[in-house]
Amino acid sequence: MFPLDQLAIGQKAIIESIETDFLPLKLIEMGCLPGNEISLLHLAPFRDPLYLKIDEAHLAIRKDVARYIMVKPLMDD
């Protein structure tokens, strides 16, 4: 388990936990909840911001927020 910003491009993971006090509610409402699948689609230069697919939603967040999302990578199936 590690913070989201260390995920590799194209890797899929499951959200393990989120630090709710530091995440905007909007992010949670867009599906950033423990148990949902998350994958990192693209990174801008300097690995920031991150372009993610969370559940069904495609969105971009900054690294400083991504740090508060802990994920467990899925093995390739």
Binding site: D21, K26, L33, P45, Y51, E56, L59, A60, R62, V65
Partner: protein, 698 residues
């Protein structure tokens, strides 16, 4: 007897809510502002059948009822206020077929307010391509409402929606989520304290300012005891509410929604690989920028020249056709030139919004935000500052308004404060005439000096914006955390109708908003230039005729002399003389002083004012130029020499000489503090750099 019903369109951003609105109302719509705030209010009407007319309100896009921005709070405020004249009889939640799950979150929240709520699933034409199947009947049963599949592209489903709206009374108002499942103790206590009230509504009122503190809320009597809970506790409850809602939505969708991923074709990833590529992404973006600038400065020059000469002709025509008198002069010289000063920008503004709305409709703009965010953040700006910075090259007013979707207040404020540094097109006529006066029309290695100077002025404006942004970034304190969440929508072909309506609306509101201010200022300036105190002004004709009695002047020359003498002694001339000591170190005389003052109406007035001062026909640029070139100082040297020219250009590059922008900044920040700071510091920067340039080059 026609029956009116209120319909509110609600939905996530990027669901094509506006397309549904346009499909229902066509051009029967008007855009205004909510009183006191700058959130856009779009309203339209639609005849449902012979006896029913719907007033349709297109509410700002929102992801949930837990408002986190001004736009979103408008939605909540309205839905909680039964006494509001716009309070909907029926709510239409617009969702898109691909993101149904996330969209249903908002739907269930609105349903729980016990308002009849219809679900519109938009973009149904995508279903087959994306391999989506929906069991509509079952979905209707589970959500206790009517569900309509709509495709604005194929124009299907809209009629069915109208039929459902006519019969809105038959839609159930049963809620979906029982709030006590979020936190039993909390909500049971709340229910005991306020019996007979909807728990969810109470809860919304209580939590309204958890995310968004500075809201005017309707008061719940004595809700304080429930607010004493710490904010983070309330936020936890909001999260639990979100989780609960998703649980029931997942359950519902499991039975009604099927996606066959195999059938999905992936346009998104193919385009993304190119458009946000670490190298090609930027190349493509700058190419698009080039095209936009090309359109704004090159293509629009044809209609602009036409408008310019038409207004000059109109002014002449009025002078000859109307009976001579003060009103005729006011209309010909004040009103028409004021109007011309606004109308001339229509081509540029229209082109600008044409491109911006196409880029937004296609979904490309979010990719630009993604690409530019990191780079701009270094300077305290956001990826979302890109649109304002591009718009600023046409005019600062739409640029300031375009900052509204930057969530982080500090980043938004910095963007607003620095945007007037970007070279707006009102500076262009000033630069043009000054460059042609003081920069030689020669080439060095095939590069034209004049073109080079113009480019340099654009760069210097942009650089100053970036530098002052990073200074402000250090000075301003912000307790805010980052709230940067950008949805990356699917790529879509833009709908022509949507683009056309956006361009029309934005251009119209620019003309009306900025137009009235510029017009009013032009009228006042005309009065100040046409009247003056004392003998000298009223006896101008006599004085000049006497002074030149032994020179053989023809009538026209004499008239010109009288006009400049009058101007010198008019109120505005006196003002120019008063500030002369301040601007003398910059290399300007009182006549330039007048032009500087009148430039506060709008910068491009500079040329017109100088034309009046040097008493030549308006817009005959060659003659103004020759007159300006011939102007001398008391020591006989040329007034418009290189040092003065450069000094003036720098002054115009940096000074905040635009009352309309100040008015908009005041409106957007709701305080005099920020436009005040802007005016003060930009003027200082302009003054100092002009001073330095003149003193060094002199």
């Amino acid at each position: 007897m026609i029956k009116n019903i209120n319909v509110a369109l609600i939905g996530n951003p990027n669901t094509g809510k506006t397309s549904v609105f346009n499909a229902l109302t066509g051009l029967n719509q008007k855009v205004g502002n909510y009183p006191g705030i700058t959130v856009e209010k779009k309203q339209g009407s639609c005849r449902l059948d012979r006896i029913t007319k719907a007033r349709i309100l297109d509410l700002p896009g929102t992801y949930s009822l837990n408002a986190s921005s001004m736009d979103e709070s408008v939605v909540v405020e309205l839905l909680l206020n039964k006494n509001d004249p716009d309070f909907p009889d029926v709510a239409v939640v617009v969702t898109d077929v691909e993101n149904l799950k996330r969209n249903l979150l908002l739907f269930t929240q609105i349903k729980d307010l016990e308002i009849p709520t219809v679900l519109v699933i938009n973009m149904s034409d995508q279903m087959q391509r994306k391999g989506i199947k929906i069991d509509i009947e079952k979905l209707e049963e589970k959500l206790i409402t009517s569900v309509v599949l709509v495709s604005t592209r194929q124009n299907s489903g809209v009629e069915k929606l109208k039929q459902i709206l006519i019969d809105y009374r038959s839609i159930s108002t049963l809620p979906i989520l029982d709030p006590t499942t979020i936190d039993q103790d909390y909500f049971e206590n709340l229910g005991k304290a306020f019996p007979n009230q909807s728990l969810y509504k109470l809860w919304l009122v209580i939590t309204q300012d958890v995310n968004f503190t500075k809201l005017e809320r309707q008061k719940v009597p004595d809700s304080t005891q429930f607010k004493t809970q710490s904010q983070s506790y309330l936020k936890k409850l909001q999260q639990r509410e979100t989780i609960k809602r998703y649980q029931s939505i997942n359950q519902i969708l499991k039975e009604t929604y099927r996606v066959n991923r195999e059938e999905a074709t992936d346009l998104r990833s193919k385009l993304d690989n190119l458009l946000i590529h670490k190298f090609w992404g930027y190349v493509i973006f700058f190419m698009i920028l080039l095209i936009i600038f090309q359109a704004i400065f090159d293509w629009s020059s044809v209609p602009m020249d036409f408008i310019d000469s038409s207004f000059a002709r109109m002014s002449e025509w009025i002078k000859t056709q109307m009976p001579a008198g003060i009103l005729t002069d006011l209309i010909a010289e004040g009103v028409v030139s004021g109007l011309g000063g606004i109308v001339i920008f229509i081509p540029q503004i229209a082109f600008l919004f044409l491109f911006i709305s196409i880029l937004e409709e296609t979904g490309y703009m979010s990719r630009v935000v993604f690409l530019m965010d990191r780079g701009l953040r270094k300077f305290g700006l956001s990826g979302k500052s890109v649109v304002p910075l591009i718009s600023g090259t046409a005019c600062a007013i739409p640029a300031v308004m375009a900052t509204r979707n930057i969530e982080n207040w500090k980043e938004r404020l910095i963007t607003i404060l620095v945007v007037p540094f970007t070279t707006c097109s009102a500076r262009l006529p000033v630069y043009m005439i000054l460059i042609s006066l003081v920069i030689p029309n020669d080439r060095l290695l095939g590069i034209n000096y004049q073109g080079l100077t113009l480019m340099g002025l654009y760069l210097i404006g942009f650089l100053m914006a970036i530098v002052s942004a990073s200074i402000l970034n250090r000075l301003l304190k912000s307790p805010n955390k980052s709230y940067f969440v950008v949805e990356m929508p699917n790529y879509k072909l833009p709908l022509l109708k949507n683009v056309a309506i956006t361009v029309w609306e934005k251009t119209r509101s620019f003309v009306v908003e900025a137009g009235k201010i510029i017009l009013a200022i032009s009228i006042l300036l005309w009065f100040m230039a046409s009247f003056g105190p004392g003998e000298k002004f009223s006896n101008a004709e006599q004085i000049i005729t006497q002074q030149y009695s032994n020179e053989a002047l023809n009538d026209l020359e004499l008239e010109n002399k009288i006009a400049s003498f009058k101007l010198e002694n008019s109120y505005i001339g006196i003002l120019g003389k008063t500030i002369e000591p301040i601007i003398l170190p910059l290399g300007y005389d009182w006549k330039i002083g007048i032009a500087l003052i009148s430039s506060f109406a709008a910068r491009e007035v500079f040329v017109g004012t100088l034309a009046t001062i040097y008493s030549v026909e308006r817009d005959a640029e060659e003659t103004i130029k020759t007159r300006m070139a011939g102007e001398t100082r008391s020591d006989g040297s040329r007034l418009f020499n290189l040092p003065t020219g450069i000094s003036l250009m720098l002054f115009y590059a940096f000074a905040m000489q635009c009352m309309s922008t100040l008015a908009i900044v005041k409106k957007e920040t709701n305080s005099w503090k920020w436009p005040g700071i802007q005016l003060f510091s930009m003027t200082i920067i302009a003054y100092l750099s002009a001073l330095m340039a003149y003193q060094i080059l002199k």
